[in-house]
């Protein structure tokens, strides 16, 4: 019976109900999109790193997983030194120039990269021939409407697209190592070094050994590095998600507060009627909280559906920039956050409804 009344109340004001549900949905979508993009971007980076086929990565001193790599502090002489180490089968170095986040251009030695990873699989064109040639992955080409022969200007240099390759390896934009080193003004220096071993099982052991040899603790087995590509290990992202959740809770609180406060005001007489026929504070509160809960649940479901919409939009409008994953484990979390914010928003209107004087409420016009 009570559910019938609640449903009737919600359908009596369809626009207000719809707006409340939509606002809660946006709150849920905001959380799920942020978490999805965080996870997706990290996973995409991880997958591209895996695609190189290396067992060990040497990173610049003081660098972190999420910080854009832009410097090239490591000498190319490291490559020779690393090749002399036991179990090292091949090495390749890259230099990176960051563009607008999350894009960057990687300068690579295509021969040593091919030896390590098998090289790029081209869907059109091939490796750079001239110093002004550039290769891009399919996502980047689609996002920027590029094809073989297209011209574009990046890092104050005019490039010619020589090849478009399947994504999932190393980077989205690659040029010749020497060219980018010269443009950056860091000839003979590298940003990252990838090491392939003759026995991948030795990766952790060799990484420890190389730390001593190179006097640097930024030497990771790829397995260890992949573990670091998770939101919980990236403090900055974790904090950012926390802030967004805080904002989302406040948004949900305000929306539901406004909606329920208006509803209580508008239904003053009805609340009076319910009280007159024997409805106690528990009943009145029960009705309001159930209404709120229903709004929050509907908002959460719609929020999850809208998340697929944002995912589709990112995939089709900025496939090379941000990757959004569906993080199922966050569905109940985002729902619980929305419900908590909504219930908080219903407390004051609920209190007002409970405290309403029945005779005054009955004479309310």
């Amino acid at each position: 019976m009570l559910n019938k009344l609640i449903l009737a109340n919600l359908t009596h004001r369809p626009v207000r109900t719809l707006l409340s549900v939509l606002a809660i949905a946006v709150e849920v979508t905001m959380i799920l999109t942020l978490v999805g993009v965080s996870n997706g971007t990290l996973d995409s980076t991880k997958r591209r790193a895996e695609g190189v086929g290396a067992d060990i990565m040497v990173r610049p001193p003081g660098s972190s997983v999420m910080a854009s790599l832009n410097s090239a502090p490591m000498s190319e002489k490291y490559l020779g030194l690393l090749m002399q180490q036991p179990h090292v089968a091949s090495v390749t170095g890259t230099v990176i120039e960051s563009l607008t986040f999350p894009d960057s251009v990687s300068g690579i030695d295509f021969d040593s990269f091919r030896k390590m990873s098998g090289g790029f699989t081209y869907v059109a064109g091939g490796d750079p021939v001239s110093d002004d040639d550039m290769t891009v992955d399919e996502d980047y080409a689609r996002q920027h409407h590029l094809q073989v022969g297209s011209k574009l200007k990046l890092v104050a240099h005019d490039w010619n697209v020589s090849g478009i390759y399947e994504g999932g390896k190393l980077a989205r934009i690659c040029v010749k190592l020497k060219t980018l080193q010269e443009i950056k003004g860091t000839p003979g220096h590298l940003t990252l070094i990838y090491v392939k071993l003759d026995d991948p099982k030795l990766a952790d052991q060799m990484a420890e050994q190389l730390k001593t040899t190179l006097h640097d603790d930024q030497v990771y087995s790829m397995a260890a590095l992949e573990d670091m590509y998770s939101v919980s290990n990236v403090g900055m992202l974790r904090d950012f998600i926390g802030v967004v959740i805080g904002v989302a809770v406040i948004v949900g609180f305000i929306v539901v507060f406004m909606a329920m406060y208006t509803a209580v005001l508008e239904r003053t007489r009805e609340i009076g009627i319910l009280k007159a026929v024997g409805g106690g504070p528990g009943l009145i509160l029960n009705i309001l909280l159930r209404e709120t809960l229903l709004l929050a649940l509907l908002g959460s479901v719609l929020g999850v559906i809208l998340t697929y919409g944002t995912q589709w939009m990112m995939k089709h409008s900025v496939p090379a920039s941000l990757v959004q994953e569906t993080v199922y484990s966050w569905w109940p979390i985002a729902g619980a956050i929305a419900i908590a914010g909504a219930l908080l928003g219903a407390i004051v209107p609920g209190y007002k409804a409970v405290k309403q004087d029945v005779t005054e409420a009955l004479s309310y016009e």
Partner: protein, 230 residues
């Protein structure tokens, strides 16, 4: 007044020395000044008075909607003086039924659900008994149960309100100007129904009215002026 009601068994409402003082800012308003009243079970009594006579205040106190300032008020043996809010809520749930001038039906629910929600609140089964179906027939609203209040005439809404008021078989049905919003034809129909209800089911009814014509349908009239029974 006009016709004798059913046999009187025992007093169901006993009021002695009832006073009610309202404070409007610094001004004290004595709405009731020592009201004494006794109504027997099965009576249909009209409390008749002009606007501001204190009849609505008496209605609110007898219905447990507002507490008395002083005096003794017994409804079906339950003393209202000193009752907590929760106790007054329980009184409205179990002992008193209401009919208001403005019908006060929930606009979002059908006529049927307006009645059933009161059954639900009273902790009773929400399925209408055959006896109650007969009452709905008597009230002439059995075929209007699926309609929402806005689809009903004023007279029909008031009859739904009467059905709602008695569905939990309260000891007394309190009606506050039940014909105040109705035309003369509908007023007569509603008053006749209340009278029939009283005579057929023995439902105790206390009706507040300013209209002597309406009061004529009751078995007894009590006049109130300036907060006192006259």
């Amino acid at each position: 007044m006009s016709e004798p009601g059913p046999p009187i068994i025992s007093p169901i409402i006993q009021v002695q020395g009832l006073t009610k003082v309202y404070h409007v800012g610094d001004v004290e308003v004595n709405a009731l000044r020592g009201v004494d009243l006794e109504i027997a079970r099965g009576e249909f009594v009209a409390i008749v008075g002009a606007s501001g006579s204190g009849k609505s205040t008496l209605f609110h106190i007898l219905g447990g909607l507002t507490p008395p300032t002083a005096g003794k008020v017994l409804i079906a043996g339950i003393d209202l003086a000193g009752m907590t809010n929760a106790q007054r809520t329980n009184l409205r749930k179990t002992t008193v039924g209401f009919v208001f001038q403005k019908y006060n039906l929930l606009p979002t629910l059908s006529a049927e659900d307006n009645i059933k929600i009161v059954e639900y609140i009273g902790g009773r089964s929400t399925a209408f008994t055959p006896e109650f179906q007969e009452v709905l027939k008597l009230l002439g609203i059995l075929d209007r149960m699926k309609h929402k209040p806005r689809a009903l005439s004023g007279g029909q809404q008031q009859r739904v309100a009467i059905a709602r008021g008695i569905v939990n078989q309260p000891a007394i049905l309190l009606a506050d100007e039940p014909t105040g919003n109705l035309d003369s034809q509908n007023s007569a129909a509603v008053l006749k129904l209340m009278k029939d209800l009283n005579q057929r089911t023995g439902q105790t009814i206390l009706m507040i009215t300013h209209d002597p014509e309406a009061a004529a349908y009751a078995s007894r009239s009590v006049h109130i002026r300036d907060g006192q029974i006259v």
